[in-house]
Point group: C2
Chain length 246, copies 2
Amino acid sequence: MLSKSDVKYIQSLSHKKYRDQEAVFIVEGVKMVLELISSFPERIVRIFATNIWFQEHGQIVKNLTDIHIVEPFELQKLSFLKTPNEVLALVSANNLDDFNPLSDGVTVVLDQLQDPGNMGTIIRSCDWFGIKNIVCSLDTVDAYAPKVVQSSMGSIMRLNIFYRNLPEFFFQHKQMPVYSAELSGESVFEVSFETPSILVIGNESKGVSDEVAMFASKKIMIPRIGNAESLNAAVASSIILSLMTR
Amino acid sequence: MLSKSDVKYIQSLSHKKYRDQEAVFIVEGVKMVLELISSFPERIVRIFATNIWFQEHGQIVKNLTDIHIVEPFELQKLSFLKTPNEVLALVSANNLDDFNPLSDGVTVVLDQLQDPGNMGTIIRSCDWFGIKNIVCSLDTVDAYAPKVVQSSMGSIMRLNIFYRNLPEFFFQHKQMPVYSAELSGESVFEVSFETPSILVIGNESKGVSDEVAMFASKKIMIPRIGNAESLNAAVASSIILSLMTR
């Protein structure tokens, strides 16, 4: 049985302000919650599950005391998904130490990225290609928004995501090469990528902002053969990361 | 002023059955409709626009007779977007001749792809990399569904998209090499891609089906460095296409 205050509390987590204040975010769906339980049990704050889910998976969560069995219609009230799943978890946000670039790795910088689906997909690709750190401009979409979390497919748990004033960030790390993804520049197939380095991905429609572009040591582009005006931002990032980490 | 029958007709186009029957689909938004007017004016059946849009762009559509000026609240009734834009166009579907592979190109085969956003992004990437033909299994998401059209960003107008029984299709084109994207196989960075050839992309969660996998001449994979369980289907397709068309 759900209390009104539970409902109100969880619904408040659709707002960045409350997610930040509480340092928690929401993960939904059987697959993602099971991954959470097996890989990051210490970060689970509470679980809301239907009886069906609990019958099937209750055994593996028996050490987690804070499990609430709810009716499907109650879960629907909490869910941010169109088709609510059987389970929803409150997860504590990553308590990040200060940014520490990998000695041989790539750091991805997102400059004013706006689309939650793109953000989630970039996080997932970063996780695939072994990237550990993403640094976002202060006006990039919040990585802990429900839609970002869902499209990251669990990868959000494994990455360090920072929000920074980007000009200050670049100034502090000016020894690192900065590759900026643009519509013109050197072909990504010709660049000899150095590491550690930074890859900058710009806004979906406006690209990399002027105040960030001035820190780029090299502008790079994915050669176009056909007629599309641009590539999806998550697609472009992933193509470049596949080559940088090859 | 919109008639009730206009509203009903356009709303019916959310269903594949009626899109097929009428051989039309819907394109929304200022940018996409302007591209449509400049590149494919002959395919525009009707335009519904607000007065604001018409004041600004009416000049360029003066030869298109079938323009309806509507109130913003009326456009809202027709729109499939969360935030309706100023203009919506009915566009005639591509009247396709039979599949004819490019003599030197790549054909993309989609096997049970389900997510409209992925489908649209794949169409956009295909257009970027100069792919002309996509062949879909009969149970792949409909390419003319509103969400697919929107995420293709106009590229859907420039591609030939076929729906076929895939085993029959492969049987008819058995002289072409078939590369199947999987989680294991030869690294995409090691394969010497031949053309003309076929790239097969599978379902988002189940991958390539058994009845299609048996036609693959080579299984290929994008090497994983980190921990994500898989890549987004549109991302994986695009990485492979960037290398196949390099």
